[in-house]
Amino acid sequence: MALLEVQAISKRYGEGHTAVTALEQVSFALEAGQLLAVLGPSGSGKTTLLSIIAGLLHPTSGEVRVGGQSVAEAQGGGAAFRRRNVGIVFQDYHLIPYLSARENLLLVPHLDGRVRGEDRARADGLLEEFGLAPRAGHRPPMLSGGERQRVAVARALMNEPQLMLVDEPTSHLDTERGFQVVELLRAQIHGRGTTCVMVTHDERMAAHADQVIRLLDGRVVDRPATGDKDLSG
């Protein structure tokens, strides 16, 4: 059974002749431990798709199911569902600037109620695993771009999520560091059996994924879009 099922998702903004279609009948499924890369140019609907999967946006039609459970009908509301099942890596990291790297990781269990000893041990383990142990006490402004990205990925793994949503993980990194982060991500996903949807505009990064879908104007196309003629195929 697929861990993530995206079933005929459409999203429209506005009504009538001013309506804008952001997504149109997008469907796919992912098994546990799979990495999906969503490719597409700016404005193609990648971020909207990610927001709908995360439960941050409601689709106009269609349904998202995680582990067989409808995201729209998740118990405890969207926030509780995300705290327990989803790890998000933002393009701009969104690390809390006045918390250390370790405290940024502990924010996740903190939001879920309390920080236990096992949470601290897990945070220390992730920092060690990501090569950030010597920087655990440093705040984000004192970290390099690559280190911040690794902290953001580690934070997304803190709640041992079923599903990881990663937005443009390499946009602020040079090519070499970008590859390192994607490789790290891939290793973590496969090692932990976590399903991951990674939005990127970089074909080279997408090559590391188990599946790739390409979006253009809100629709899934089956090969890279290089012009209107190519869309028909």
């Binding site: 193609s44 971020t47 927001s51 995360a54 926030a79 393009q91």
Partner: protein
Amino acid sequence: MLALKELLNGKVRFGLIALAVGLVVALTMLMSAMSEGLITGMTGAKGSLKADALVFQGDTQLALERSLLSAESVSAVAESPGVENAYPVGHAMISVAPAAPEEAKASGDGAGGDEASFDARLFGLGGEWEQLPRVEGEAGPPGPGEAIVDVTAQVDGIELGDTVSLTPIGRELTVVGFTENRRYIMVPTFYVDMPTWEDIYLATALGKTAEEASGQGEDLPEGSQQPPAEGISPALGGSASIVAVELSDGVSPAELEGNLGAGFEVATPEDAALAGNGMSVMVLATDGIQWVSLIIGALFIGVFFYITTLHKTGQIAAMKALGASNVYLYRQLLIQIAVLVTVAAAIGMFLSLGAGMSMPPTMAFDPQPVGWGLSLLAVYVMALVGSFFSLHTILRVDPATALDRGEH
């Protein structure tokens, strides 16, 4: 954790705002103390009379200055149903000339002249002397020609054991003790026994010229010399300005007024204190200043945290996307506001106490724990009201914006 970490990370920013709010807190506390001081200074001697009710002459609007009860009226009040205990209280306006320093006396310089005199109020008490808190001098009622004086008179040079002159009537009083918080219309009071009060009241009411007081009255033209006070109007003997009464259980001042019939007004000391002399307007003005200060403080805190919240909408959106609830985010904000207001309250109290200690005793400044407590409570409540600006922003932040950068 998060709220305190952010406060510690922005020590300078939050410290400055705490200082600014602390100044507002100090303003409200100072206004509270000055308001209390004004009331105490204006009405302390009247409002703190030990009694359940004060009985005034009718149609005097509870004014000590206008009320005069005959000996018969005083007896009628004391014997009225519902009165457990009663004692007469006299009031008069006096001018006091401090005792001359020894060197001035030796050199023959005038003492007790008009230049050195100050206004005061004379209160005659027919009992219940223990109601005066004694800060200096021996306990017990004063004898004839003796007075217990409000301690603020020390600012005018009055000391224990001094014999002061009352001008222009030529009476003298020896100071045998000092009490506190017993001013009236912002001047110190001199407490004397009723016979002494009666003598001085009559002299003050009937008048006695300065020339008489200095022994030069014989030179005045015939007919211009006013009669001396002594021995005049024996019909007024035993009279008083008002009567202070202790009521039987369950008897209200209004019931007593009904029992006494026409010709009397009855009120509690507290109500009587706030009547007349423009007290209601003054209290309204000081209360108004306090409320304005509190509203400014609330706006200050509200706007500061509103701007702070606006500056971190991206962070709030990300935290919501990570699973933070609106309740959690608002709780963090309230923790920050509580810490900031507590620091501000400490600053405000420190500044207020410092300001109070540097004020002269005659200054209308009477900090009351209840008044300050209410001021602090009001600051917390108004800060809570101010936090609603930020709550509105928190509720409006869409977590999807943490991912959305204008792309769809």
